[in-house]
Amino acid sequence: MGKTMAEKILQAHTTQKDVKAGDFIWAKVDLMLGNDITAPLAIRQYEKLKKKKLVDPNKVVLVPDHFTPNKDIKSAQQCKLLREFAKSHKIRHYYEVGRVGIEHALLPELGLVCPGDLVIGADSHTCTYGALGAFATGVGSTDLAVAWITGHVWLKVPETMRFVYHGTLQKWVSGKDLILYTIGDIGVDGALYKAMEFTGEVIDKLPMDGRLTMANMAIEAGGKAGLFPVDKITWNYIKKVNPKRYPRSYRKWKDLRSDEDAQFVDVREYDVSKWEPAVALPHLPSNVRPVSRVKNVRIDQVVIGSCTNGRLSDLQVAAEILRGKKVHPDVRLIIIPGTQQVYLEAVRRKWAEIFVKAGAVFSTPTCGPCLGGHMGVLADGERCLATTNRNFVGRMGSLKSEVYLSNPAVAAASAIKGKIVHPDEVM
């Protein structure tokens, strides 16, 4: 019987023979990620260990992105702890404010992840790198501390659910909409403990930014990983971001994908041709409707950004819609590029000017508002439309506030109208 993509990657990272779904493995990790919220807890655990030595400082990545630029004194202390740990342990992949980006936008851009890699991160959205054909999954801080000293993580090899997308995407429909409808179909625990694998002719044509958005939200269906077969789009991306590692990586993982006779626990096929942009209503990402069925929902705030939708193409669509227009008088529009490079490019292409002239905030990269940290916390009774990934009760602030999720086009158009609308209503 053939192997799934997940089985193939995990097999390459363990000495155990004939790895298959359901097996427990002790797997060798290529990259270990922590941020300013989860790494301090990992450091606390690390300090309890007798043997205090990193197995390989070059595999450790520390990204202070959640509560930075420091939002309060306690957060500043956490970041200081991270900074000092990075310095004393000679960690090269530490990114200071001004150079930092949102971790899952930053790592792919820096070329730190290649196909076939095993990446763990003490952040649930670590699954983002599945877009690059890596097996990447979120773990806890203790897992991270143990990986720092042993180089390994314990994993259960997941079963795989395959999703096949047929047809052609309509204008304004993106990777965000594909993943929202998918989560709407299977529910927030529909892929619990499983790897999700995205295929079909729509995926074959989907640019890397859209793939990163889809893989990012695999966790919102409970998934352990969100995997994309490796193809031309993957390799063109890798060639650009890591030309040095590209030849070796290409030789090893050129055709990384599931075998046709591999066993899938479920296969779901969708025809996307009639799909319009999606909106997830409060308070679960699975509470999804086509935007035309979301009528007269007035909004107080719009956030465009995050590890889900803070990449160049996301800001591009926002700029296209906001060009020469004004944000509705009752709305606060906050636009946050995912990385400094995205920020700089938005300035160069004069999108920053479009945003500011429209009456929006254009901020330095941060996770801030997505998790109700800072830079756009909601008050009682307020309603926000966000391109982020979670709309749980109180996610962005008050327990009495509401969060709706959409793609950047719907978000930008809605910011102009003051209520949730289809982008066609302003274009």
Binding site: S75, G222, L371, R395
Partner: protein, 161 residues
């Protein structure tokens, strides 16, 4: 290990933002995190519970973020065990890694009511609902996970190796 406490009921898909809202994540102190346990649903929760009490929930408990602060907050608040129909995967591994007892038992979580007195013998694998006079068998975890649980957590397991 024996556990005895009162049941506190929660529904399906309880997420980590409900267990410990992000605004409290600017610390790693278990006591402080514990003082905000379940603040995303019920800010008074920690005032009502007694040490040793037990959380009983529906499916997909602990979904959302990877924050280990969630099981740490539950443990820090004095909760002795979480029983649920099912757990989200990162919460599940975090609980095992830090030695917070968790039990996956759909029948029990459906039948237990708020306030029921529960007794759990983890070594014998028995859960007793004292109030309703009902007993349940708890199945052991797969070998590898049981090793970590027996060691008292992942750090302890690693130090033994």
């Amino acid at each position: 290990m024996k556990i005895r406490g009162k049941a506190w009921k929660f529904g399906n898909d309880i997420n980590t933002d409900e267990i410990i809202p992000a605004r409290f994540l600017n610390t790693t102190d278990p006591k402080e995190l514990g003082s905000h346990c379940m603040a995303g649903i019920d800010e008074e929760f920690v005032k009502r519970i007694k040490k040793g009490d037990i959380i009983v929930a529906g499916k997909n408990f602990g979904c959302g973020s990877s924050r280990e602060h969630a099981p740490v907050a539950i443990k820090g608040a004095g909760i002795s065990c979480v029983i649920a129909e099912s757990f989200a995967r990162i919460f599940f591994r975090n609980a095992i890694n830090i030695g917070l007892p968790i039990i996956e038992l759909p029948s029990a979580s459906k039948e237990i009511e708020e306030g029921d007195l529960l007794e759990i013998d983890l070594d014998r694998g028995v859960l007793k609902n004292v109030t309703r006079k009902k007993e349940y068998q708890i199945s052991k975890f797969p070998g590898f996970m049981q090793e970590i649980i027996n060691a008292g957590g992942l750090l302890e397991w690693v130090m033994k190796r």
